[in-house]
């Protein structure tokens, strides 16, 4: 080895040439199809080997690689036959425990990361699921992201348009009506709620702020890069929340705490989407009372009464 360090030449006394050639052929063929001629040429040109080998010898190495656990596949390109290693004994293996831990970490962080992080994690999960043998865990990891089964390129585009608040036209599969329709929207915000990716913005057809499921967007038809950037109306609601035990109140991103005592907080929530505010208020149920504005208070009370009636109508 000392001599090799000095002269950069190898001899049979120094190393196993067949071991070296095996590694060289292996590394050439891992997911990279090559013909016998190309392998032969690479062995001849290698700075340590500079050795002419016959096709028969290469065949023996290929058999040996198979015996060592490599799955060698053929690829026909016209009359040319190429070979590549599809799988081998040194593949990364993600154990069931590791997969479960990945899922646990993902669940812990999923409420505090950006949409762009969801996007890269989704791609990553798709990639590494190939190294998980347990089919259930593989499926779970592939589907855990709210972005699974959504076109990643489209999500990237939407992120960009949302940053710029562009006006876009989308072809939307409105499952409610069962119809596909074109919708113009000045995109404002992307968010994950109820385990799904949504995009919200000002809908110029209905003149309201709406939220759309990204999974229902068939495609983006056009982008109006010069669209006037609208100042979108924002709803502001104040509510009083009775604090739960000694736990601190955790405001959402779109909320600010105006006042706080040991037992109560007064919170101001802002959103361009009334529906989001309504969902937040209802989820806090009997701990939460809308203070202002009065018309919104009435609206919430109306919804609660409808909910109650719903229970007795069908009894």
């Amino acid at each position: 080895m000392k001599r090799f360090m000095e002269t950069n030449t190898v001899t049979h006394n120094l190393m196993s040439f067949s071991g070296f050639k095996s590694m060289l052929i292996f590394s050439m063929l891992v997911h990279n199809p090559k013909t016998y001629e190309e392998i032969k040429q690479a062995l001849e040109e290698n700075e340590y080997l500079k050795e002419t080998v016959s096709i028969d010898t290469i065949r023996i190495y290929m058999n040996s690689l198979k015996q060592a656990g490599c799955n060698i596949k053929k690829l026909h390109e016209g009359r040319t036959v190429k070979y590549y290693i599809d799988s081998h004994p040194f593949e990364l293996k993600i154990t069931d425990k590791q997969a479960k831990s990945i899922i646990k970490v993902y669940k812990a962080i999923s409420k505090s990361i950006e949409i762009s992080d969801f996007l890269i994690l989704n791609d990553f999960f798709t990639k590494i699921s190939a190294y998980i043998t347990n089919e259930d865990l593989k499926t779970k990891l592939q589907n855990i992201s709210p972005l699974s089964n959504i076109n990643a390129e489209m999500v990237e585009e939407l992120i960009r348009y949302t940053k710029n608040r562009n006006e876009i036209t989308i072809l939307y599969n409105a499952k409610n009506s069962g119809k596909k329709k074109e919708i113009d929207i000045v995109v404002d915000k992307m968010s994950i709620s109820n385990g799904k990716l949504h995009i919200a913005g000002y809908n110029s057809e209905y003149h309201n702020y709406s939220e759309f499921l990204v999974s229902n967007i068939i495609r983006i038809i056009s982008v109006n890069l010069k669209a006037p950037k609208l100042v979108l109306p924002e709803f502001v609601v104040q509510y009083e929340y009775q604090k739960e035990d000694n736990a601190s109140f955790q405001p959402f991103e779109n909320e600010i705490v105006l006042e706080e005592t040991d037992t109560h907080v007064i919170v101001e929530i802002k959103s361009r989407n009334k529906f989001i505010i309504m969902q937040r208020i209802l989820s806090l149920s009997s701990r939460c009372r809308v203070i202002s504005p009065d018309n919104y208070k009435e609206e919430i009370l109306g919804i609660l009464k409808n909910m109650k009636e719903g229970y007795f109508e069908e009894q």
């Binding site: 590694m23 292996f26 831990s101 990945i102 609660l304």
Partner: protein, 316 residues
């Protein structure tokens, strides 16, 4: 005479057996020695002198190690064990893949769960072993960039304690604060789950036969009861609810949920295992598009919750 289809090169098999041991972190000297010993014993010219045999095998091992080194694979010997420091091949990762891995590893480091930390550490080592140097450097710099250290720092000791109770399969006498009242329950701790900033202990309330999720800061005391859990099988309450209108068409079933009936304009969902507090909060959000069907006492509780909320507006 063997044809080329059945001829095998022993040098190839030996180096791959050696590499397999290295990849599995099982390349102790004895195992490596045995690869090459069987090769010599198979040979016609058997060597009787054990010392000579050992010397010869050591020379052969050195030759194969040199092959690895000349090929560019770094290996080192630690406590009679060979360890792989670089790989025969590398998996192609994009910058986005490395960023995703860095997010998971950084966050994993900050979750106070020893088993999880160990799993993530092993995952990291296995992935680093199959990564080229440039990707390794990128990963290490990205890990240090991500800061999830705000996670649960004050509660590490309590989390550890709860974790032990979960794995020991014990029954607890647990006291916690709920709506400013002290509640005592006899329960079986199941697992710890994590929210953005709060860890929760999920327990099975033995008397009420329901799952409860308790924020760790709300736990006032925990006492292990002398008898251990006899069986892992437990009956959790199943809640059936109906979703109507557009929600019925777009609803995505959650973990622990099954689809019951599916009609023209509604679906029924069979939910089990979701802590009731969380379930009520979620179903309230669906407003009039949701109705709990069974069990009757949960349905009554939901109606009560709606009434209580309405009452807030009438009181003031």
């Amino acid at each position: 005479m063997k044809n080329n289809n059945s001829k095998i090169n022993n040098g190839c098999l030996n180096i791959f057996r050696f590499l397999k041991l290295l990849y599995d972190d099982k390349a102790d000297y004895c195992s490596v020695y045995n690869i090459f010993k069987s090769d010599i014993i198979d040979d016609d010219s058997k060597i009787q002198d054990e010392k000579k045999l050992n010397n010869l095998i050591q020379v052969i091992i050195n030759k194969y190690i040199n092959s690895l080194k000349v090929f560019g694979i770094k290996i080192k010997k630690e406590k009679h064990k060979y360890k792989l420091n670089s790989s025969l091949y590398s998996i192609e990762y994009t910058l986005k893949d490395i960023k995703a891995l860095s997010i998971l590893l950084s966050a994993g480091n900050n979750i106070p769960d020893e088993n999880l930390n160990k799993d993530m550490k092993n995952l990291k080592e296995n992935m680093l072993l199959r990564m080229n140097n440039s990707d390794k450097n990128t990963l290490n710099s990205l890990i240090s960039d991500r800061d999830f250290s705000f996670f649960y720092t004050d509660l590490k000791a309590q989390i550890k304690q709860c974790k032990e109770y979960c794995s020991d399969n014990v029954i607890l006498n647990l006291m916690y604060l709920h709506r400013n009242k002290e509640i005592r329950i006899k329960c079986k701790p199941k697992e710890i789950t994590y929210d953005v900033k709060t860890p929760y202990l999920n327990v099975y309330d033995i008397n009420k036969k329901e799952n409860i999720e308790i924020a760790l800061p709300n736990i006032l005391s925990m006492e292990v009861m002398p008898n251990r859990t006899a069986s892992k099988i437990e009956n959790t309450t199943t809640v059936v609810y109906k979703l109507k209108g557009r929600l019925a068409k777009i609803y995505k079933l959650k973990e622990g949920e099954k689809l019951g009936e599916a009609g023209q304009d509604f679906i029924t969902v069979i939910n089990s295992g979701e802590p009731f507090d969380k379930l009520f909060a979620r179903l309230m959000r669906y407003a009039e598009l949701c109705e709990i069907i069974s069990p009757k006492y949960i349905r009554a509780e939901m109606i009560n919750l709606i009434n209580e909320t309405i009452k807030l507006y009438k009181e003031k």
